[in-house]
């Protein structure tokens, strides 16, 4: 490894913050709201999506409290519909999709490739504003009583029958979609054109590869959901009937257009998480990732194949057996690149010098939970089995294992890993390990019973259920409470650490990668001199170079 070692060495004496860095270069609210620094924009995103996360979590809590009793009782079914819809809309469009790319990706990609900023810094700021404006519309729909269509906005319910704030909510999603498109565009151009001398494609950190694949989906998929949502809006306002079967329109066409984006959107959510895990596993095993190029290309494979599987959401929506079979087969194919990644992460651990710091605990959590989420995905890709478990809690459990057990674990792991770089401070190790444990236990207690109760036939989106399912729902609600504690804890100690934490030093983990070669926090232009790269990122060949924290 030969990236330049710049700045102070944490092993010598007590580390101190550098005198000049991106956080103190300029001050005042204008310097934040008009910033074009990708690191500051990353922080703006972090604050924004944390807000949305806890708002979405609040609705999850409402849903879980309602389901504590078979007869519901907390909310009327109509209010319950709004609660789970707002949970889904907020979590998917305003938290999960921007989560890792817009915060960690924004902060890290330019540093990881040795650039001063993203290719289009102003567009980067614009995309944050678009997310905020979209979010304001989302909140406005909430203020007006919320949306009750489910996060999928299925027609004809969304276009004709629903009396809730569908239009406002849909506009919010539409606008935030452009935020995502512009972020993807910025990443693609940046990764193509802004790499430092010597940073070839196959020296890139895998985090960058997975964000490249993610960006492709953002750019190719998001406009399709934008236009479908726009058509729903036309239909709602003008009553033109494009998805209205009474004049020959087809509601299932909306489902096709919607899932053409929204299935790949699942990979928008999980691919960046996979990128984080690749970094964590390599860093805490002190080994370059096993089968680097396979892991890199499997990201692209997931992005490409992910575009051809949307029909598996419509096995019971009147699809012909032939297309169902085809979609089923292609859905199975996604398992191959996913398995390549999982096996290669595991193989990386083999004979590695593993250290069990908090980010690595999250990475281990990810490996187990993603495995379960992925394998149950195969159940759902099987046409016959899907007929049985379609629209049950089995599906709910499956995608929460991917989205929460996968993406959110990776997000938290990544946040801990790069927190010293972002803030320049260390987080409290004991508290963070405790919270990682709470999250893992709480998560499994919440969602594992849902596999069972779903398989037994409990449908999703119902405000009430037969009494024999109560035990599973009580377990689930108990787990959700524990999970909630696990999420509040990091917010508390990260905030504490931001103000009171011990300075971390430039490279507290003693790992490689360009981001650790600059100061913590980095200077505004990331490096005092453009680095020249002569080797791949995580080559830990020489023992004497490894500094253990």
């Amino acid at each position: 490894m030969s990236t330049p070692v710049i700045g102070t060495d944490s092993a010598v004496g007590a580390p101190a913050l550098p005198s000049r860095h991106y956080l103190n270069e300029t001050t005042g609210w204008k310097s934040w709201l008009l910033t074009t620094d990708h690191k500051r924009i990353g922080l703006l995103y972090l604050i924004t999506i944390t807000g949305f996360f806890f708002l979405g979590g609040f609705f999850a809590l409402l849903v879980r409290l309602q389901l504590l009793n078979p007869t519901g009782g907390l909310m009327t079914p109509d209010v319950y519909n709004r609660a789970f819809t707002m949970h889904g809309v907020i979590m998917v469009f305003f938290f999960l999709i921007p989560s890792i790319p817009a915060t960690l990706g924004n902060f890290l990609i330019p540093i990881m490739i040795g650039a001063k900023d993203l290719a289009f810094p102003k567009i980067n700021l614009l995309s944050w504003y678009l997310l905020v404006i979209g979010g304001v519309f989302g909140l406005a729909s909430l203020g007006g009583g919320g949306v009750d269509t489910g996060w999928t906005f299925y027609t004809p319910y969304s276009s004709m029958s629903s009396n809730s704030r569908v239009l406002t909510g849909a506009i919010g999603v539409f606008i935030s979609g452009f935020s995502s498109i512009l972020t993807g565009l910025n990443f693609i151009v940046t990764i193509h054109r802004m790499r430092a001398p010597g940073m070839t494609w196959f020296r890139l950190p895998l985090f960058v590869w997975s964000h490249y694949a993610t960006s492709l989906i953002m750019v190719l998929g998001t406009p399709v959901v934008a236009i479908s949502i726009l058509l729903v809006a036309f239909e709602r306002v003008l009553r033109v009937g494009i998805f209205d079967p009474t004049i020959g329109g087809d509601p299932v066409l909306f489902q096709h257009l919607f899932w053409f984006y929204s299935h790949p959107a699942v990979y928008i959510m999980v691919l960046p998480g996979m990128g984080v895990i690749s970094e964590l596993v390599a860093a805490y095993s002190r080994k370059n990732i096993f089968g680097y190029s396979f892991v890199a290309f499997s990201s692209l494979a997931i992005a490409v194949v992910g575009f051809l599987v949307w029909g598996h959401h419509m096995f019971v929506a009147g699809e012909t057996p032939y297309s169902a079979l085809l979609f089923s087969a292609i859905s199975y194919l996604v398992a191959i690149p996913s398995a390549i990644k999982t096996f290669n992460w595991t193989a990386t651990l083999y004979k590695g010098s593993i250290s069990y710091q908090t980010p690595m605990l999250y990475a281990f959590g990810f490996l187990g939970l993603f495995l379960m989420g992925g394998l149950t995905g195969l159940f759902l890709a099987a046409v016959g089995l899907d007929v049985h478990v379609h629209d049950t809690y089995f599906v709910v459990a499956h995608f929460h294992y991917i989205m929460v057990g996968g993406t959110l674990m990776a997000y938290l792991g990544g946040l801990h890993y790069w927190w010293p770089k972002i803030s320049g401070k260390l987080y409290p190790e004991g508290w963070s390990k405790l919270s990682a444990l709470i999250v893992f236990v709480g998560f499994n207690l919440t969602f594992f019973p849902q596999f069972i109760v779903g398989y037994l036939g409990m449908p999703r989106r119902y405000a009430m259920y037969p009494p024999e399912f109560q035990v599973y729902n009580v377990l689930s609600t108990a787990g959700a409470t524990i999970l909630g504690v696990g999420y509040v804890l990091p917010m508390v100690y990260f905030t504490w650490s931001w103000f009171r934490g011990r300075p971390a030093g430039d490279n507290p983990w003693g790992v490689k990668g360009l981001e650790w070669q600059t100061t913590s926090p980095p200077p505004t232009f990331n490096f005092d001199r453009t680095p020249i790269v002569t080797d791949a990122t995580h080559l830990y060949g020489h023992a004497e170079e490894v500094k253990v924290a």
């Binding site: 070692v5 565009l185 001398p197 257009l257 453009t530």
Partner: protein, 241 residues
Amino acid sequence: MPEAAVTHHGVHPGTHIPRLQHHFDTMAQQKEAVTLGMWVFLVTEIMFFGGMFCAYMIYRMWHYDGFVAASRELDLTLGAINTVVLIGSSLTVALGVHAAQVGKTKPLVSYLLLTGVLGLVFLVIKYFEYSSKFELHEAHHAAAMVRLFPGAGWFEVTGDLAPIAGEMRLFMVLYFALTGMHALHMIIGIGILAVILWMAMKGEFTPGWYAPVEIFGLYWHFVDIVWIFLFPLLYLVNRHG
């Protein structure tokens, strides 16, 4: 450990070269980046229109008769004139980019102006075409009365065409959605053009820096190409009878 190498071309190499933004190393890198950015954006646009094209083609297969009947009610002459106008504007914008490339400000301004005028001509013609769809009139190719704007309370088809009124309405929804989105892109394009024109008149473009003209040209050509697909799909494909 191989020798740690660093370059010494400074902290802010961009501050010395006008028009070079701070985070790029060279003008060539900056130009490549903005051009690639525009291409990626156009890919996004293709997918945006693609969703509607897809809906159009599926519905056309399912509701062939209604789509043929409604298509024949469109004004072929105005559509054809608009096609010529737009292709003309693509030519002028291409000539404009060339003028910028060789640093001829006066022709650049004229070509950009001409492009804007042609764009406005297109929109004016489109306005007249749209407004005729709000009036109840005799169908051109059938014994029927039609008012084709598909909004509730507007759309009306009586006489021979009444049995396929629903299908015709679907066609008109897609017609308005597709051409409306295209027109919106024209309006945005003319807005951007106004800024580029203003910059050109101030003489800001040089052979060393004319990227805005070039990427605007890419956008304008794209909007034209969308129309090149829309015109045959909406106006022409059913005219063989």
